[in-house]
Each structure stands twice: as C-alpha cells, then as structure tokens.
Symmetry: C2
Subunit: 208 residues, 2 copies
C-alpha cells in the first residue's frame, strides 16, 4: 500500500479521525431523533418517512427500532420495569454511538417514562437530542391497533400495556410535537416534513 | 416542505431505504473488522490506523473500542465469564447494526474466547465479518504493558487476566493475521495496509 508509506511521521496513538471529520465527510451533523409515543401512534411510519426523505437529500441516517432491537441487542430483556429501563438505556447508548459516528440516528420506541428518555438525552452532547412526541389520542391508536396488542391488553392477556394499565408520561419540553389538526392525523410526508424542517433550521443537514 | 409534497404517492409503510441504498450513498460496503488479541498487542493502534487510512480515502468507518464501551453500553457488566460473554455479544450486536448502516465498523476487543468471536461472526451476513488476529508474542505485549496491567496480573492483583491466568484462544481461520517479521513488529501503517488491502481486494471500498 504505497499511499500508506507517506503516513509514517504521523503520531499513530493520537486517533485523529473524530466526529468533526466524519461530519465533514458526510456533510451533516450527527444527532439523535428520538420518537416517543403510544403503540400505534405512528412512530415507525414517521421514522421510515424521515429516513427516506433524508436519503433523498443525500444524508445518512439509521433507524433504531425498539421492536427490532428486542430480537438482537436486547433479546435478553423482558418487560419488567427494570428491564424496560435497561432496554431504553441500551438503545440510548447505541444512538449516542451512531450520532458520534456522524449519522442522524432515528430511534423509535414507546419509551413511556420521562426519566428513561431524559437519561438518554443526557448521554448526548447538548441540543443533539431531538425528542419527537407522537401526540395521538389513545382512541386513535387503539382503533388502528396495527399489531392487535390493544385488543389483547383490554382482554387482560397482556399486563402492563402502555396506555391501558401502564402510564405514558408525555414529554414536558420536546423539540417536536406531532398532533392531529382538526381531528385529522397528518400524512406521513407532512409529519416527516416537520422533522426535516427542524433538522434543516438547526443546521444538522450540513457540516459546520 | 414543498419537496415532500411530491412524495404522497409513495407507499409509506414500505421502508425502502435499506443497506443497499446506504452503501450506494457511501460508495462502500458495510462490514465488521474484528480485531482480537492480547492486551498490549496493538489492537487500538491498528484500529486507529485503519480508521485514519479509510477516512483519507473518503470512507466512513467507526471504531468500537472494548474499553470505551465499558464506560457506556457495557458499564453494567463486570469481568465474570458470563459478563465477558455478554460484553462481547453486545459489541457484536452493535457492530452488526453499524455494518447494516453501511459503515466499516472496526471492533477492537481482546475477545479471548473463540466461541464468543464465532457468535459475533454468525450475527452478520456471510463474509462481512473480517477477523484480524494480532498475533504478537506474550513477551512483547508484557514488555510494552501500556496500561500496567501485566504487572498487576503477575503480582496477583488482577485475577483472570488473559495470557497470564486466563487463556487466549487464537483464531483457527481468521481472515487476516498480523505478526512479527524477523522478530520485528510491523509499523502501524504497515499493519493498516494489510487490512486496507484486504478490504480493497474484497470490494468493500466500493458500492456494488
């Protein structure tokens, strides 16, 4: 590798490729877009739409889906309170790594407790944690019931289901709130537009 | 977001941005470069050199360092056998996600047991796990002793230290082996060159 031969004067122990260099390469800024809300509120749909729109703009993003990670990184965790907390902590830690790698990391988890979300916020550098609250009425989510889970929860076959017999604590100071307008849910592209606009305004879609 | 208005005919539930699209964006192929070897064998140095060289070629990589992750994702794990295994499993799962995101993920861990490394290999698609064995003599590593750990292990102040009172199981079929030539350790740029050459030959430095 002749190109490597020129590098012999570099101090090799100083690992000079850091977040700033990666962000320049990608022409974007790493951050965490944390989508929280009830089951059926549209988190995965939004995550997917945001990822698609970012890609069409040449930006690199990656979706961390709570359900998917339970088949891999978090497969040794159940649904006891302390296991839910650990589940969210691990996703937060991984999201932090992706943001540090320069990606726009889109995490999509119910993450019902404020303290767990706040713990994830505190892991990443200031302002690079963007909390998106899917503020959809429970009735709407329950009508959709895409996974049939509300039915099971109402029948008592799932215990501790968020919104039914376990609380959802809405964010107090989220960066973005997605809600119905005149009783109509926004289309995925509209919801994604709200997130993309925010990222654009805050400068995440360019390197600094 | 007027540009989003054009996307309303897309099937939003089909999350079309996948590994292939990300790889095209990055013009590279996601994979895991897993560096294994004794403490002091030069894993971090190699990881850093490879990352630097990849960056100079416009390729996006990210280093997962075993020690660093013990301050974050793995901070609730100690050094009992089952905790070591879980430590490596989590790093493997995260490396898998990074490779899926399209990055060249460089994992740097002692990872002394063959079964733990093989478990990580089995997580990622065939051939995209590239095991790099830092085959340095124990005497060399112990002389370097960059963290002073061998001294503590010899004095009995650390128990179960790899190479002293806990075994290191060398890979049987690693993709790359780094070793001394005529009793001299290769320079970091030479070691990195060996890895970069491999990635280049196998096509990882371009999208397919």
């Amino acid at each position: 590798m002749s190109t490597l031969g020129n590098s012999t004067n570099i101090f090799w122990h100083d690992c000079a490729v850091g977040k700033v260099e990666r962000q320049k390469l990608l022409n974007q800024q790493g951050c965490v877009v944390w989508i929280t809300g009830l089951s059926g509120s549209g988190k995965s749909t939004l995550a997917c739409s945001v990822g698609r729109e970012l890609h069409s703009r040449g930006k690199l993003s990656y979706v961390l889906d709570g359900d998917n990670l339970r088949h891999g990184l978090n497969k040794n965790l159940g649904f006891k309170p302390e296991e839910r907390t650990e589940n969210i902590r691990r996703v937060g830690e991984v999201a932090k790594l992706f943001a540090d790698a320069g990606l726009i990391c889109i995490a999509s988890l119910i993450s019902p407790y404020r303290k767990d979300r706040d713990a994830c916020r505190s892991m990443v550098p200031d302002a690079s944690f963007i909390e998106v609250f899917m503020n959809m009425p429970l009735e709407v989510c329950e009508l959709r019931d895409p996974k049939g889970l509300y039915k099971l929860a109402r029948a008592g076959k799932i215990k501790g289901f968020t919104g039914i017999d376990d609380p959802y604590e809405p964010p107090l100071n989220c960066e973005i709130e997605i809600r119905q307008k005149d009783g109509i849910c926004p289309a995925p592209c509209e919801m994604a537009g709200q997130v993309i606009s925010y990222l654009d305004e805050k400068g995440y879609l360019h390197a600094h």
